[in-house]
């Protein structure tokens, strides 16, 4: 098994490493990201945690290449974000980016056409698991169903980096649970790194290998989730409340 893994790495590296080196992003006077440095470990799920306005979405957009840093450097496998790195990244935006006039089937066909790494079988499985109706028009879907469709779009790709911006926000408990299960069951630790932002820590904390608490664009606390539980005898949720009280 060790040998097989090494062979994989020799070819195209299946899992991307993302490095932030003293990154700053300003909007006018506001420093949305303020001199931030960290390395995203390959093959892990990182929980990007913080209240609204902490800089979570900005950080994800920087990785996705949708924002450029005003200071510092970001690299994805050694390269700055570019159209080339975009091919490695599946990004689920917080906003509703789907076309209302399309059906679920049309949406899948439309989005899948952009990507070489689209996995049709997995997409089909996920649609079934999510209970999505292929013939339904997106504009007629409930908020929860739309969130489910968004996660199908993100997890159907074999992308080395998956960025999920608030995938649980504002949706019903059943949909939240489905979304979490889809992430757990589709995550491939040997070739994927996931960053998920949320302020919904209670439900999602068991999902994370690592957590990064973001406060005013800076790291308030970061580390391995299990180690933090062990060292402090507290859940991530409790630490979250302490940090952001």
């Amino acid at each position: 098994m060790g040998r097989r893994r090494r062979l994989l790495i020799k070819g195209v590296r299946p899992v991307a490493r993302v490095v932030f080196d003293r990154v700053t992003k300003r909007f006018g006077r506001l420093r949305a990201i303020d001199d931030l440095s960290f390395t995203l470990r390959e093959g892990t799920i990182l929980g990007l945690l913080g209240p609204n306005g902490a800089g979570k979405s900005t950080l994800l957009k920087l990785v996705a290449g949708l924002h450029r840093p005003d200071g510092g450097h970001i690299t994805i496998d050694g390269e700055p974000p570019s159209p080339k790195t975009k091919a490695k990244i599946a990004y689920l935006p917080e906003i509703d980016h789907l076309y209302g006039w399309m059906t679920v089937r049309q949406t899948l066909a439309y989005v899948s056409a952009f990507y070489n790494d689209w996995d049709h079988d997995r997409s089909q499985e996920l649609v079934n698991f999510m209970g999505l109706d292929l013939g339904a028009r997106v504009s007629r879907l409930s908020k929860g169903m739309r969130a489910r469709l968004k996660i199908v779009l993100a997890m159907s790709r074999n992308a080395p980096v998956v960025l999920l911006d608030e995938p649980l926000s504002g949706i019903d408990p059943t949909s939240r649970s489905r979304v979490l299960r889809a992430i757990v069951s589709e995550f491939r630790g040997d070739r994927q790194t996931i960053v998920m932002s949320t302020h919904d820590v209670v439900e999602s904390e068991a999902l994370f290998d690592e957590v990064l608490f973001l406060k005013d664009g800076r790291i308030a606390l970061a580390g391995e989730a299990e180690r933090l539980r062990e060292e402090r005898g507290k859940s991530i949720q409790e630490l979250f409340q302490e940090v952001f009280a």
Partner: protein, 147 residues
């Protein structure tokens, strides 16, 4: 298997404890196949890496073994059940004695109270649930035995 994760302690540790408990109670017996890592992760919505760590440690502890292409099984070893059962009992005893000691009870008193409680709770049968003998409660103990 159901997992009640409280998230105040490492989750991989709780997964191991849950398997031990199931073995000690006989809910899992030697030779039983347990869920694959992926199945369990999905079932309890826990990071697959965390489940992997729990499974790796259980294998190192000699609790489980993985047979290629067949899955993960509880090791066929009766001694294992006995030792896990003993370990769980010991943990319960230490917690109990500590708590009772803090309340000011001595050893003989504790032993007597354990006997009395056993008679009341276990021998009276699980149906009545609560203490039927605590006469000082007065009349009928509420609506418990309703019909």
């Amino acid at each position: 298997m159901q997992l009640r994760l409280d998230q105040h302690s490492p989750i991989y540790q709780q997964i191991i404890d849950e398997f031990k408990r199931a073995i000690a109670r006989g809910e899992l017996v030697p030779g039983d196949r347990i869920p694959s890592q992926r199945e369990l992760a999905s079932m309890v919505q826990v990071n697959p890496n965390t489940v992997q760590r729990a499974y790796r440690e259980m294998e190192q502890m000699g609790i489980t073994e993985t047979l290629r292409g067949q899955g993960t099984f509880i090791v066929n070893d009766e001694g294992l059940v006995a030792s896990i059962r003993r370990e769980m009992a010991d943990r319960a005893l230490v917690a109990f004695v500590g708590e009772m000691h803090a309340l000011g009870y001595g050893c003989d008193e504790m032993a007597e109270m354990v006997r009395a409680t056993y008679r009341r709770v276990i021998e009276a049968g699980p149906k009545d649930g609560k203490a039927p003998s605590s006469a000082d409660q007065g009349g009928a103990p509420g609506g418990e035995g309703g019909f």
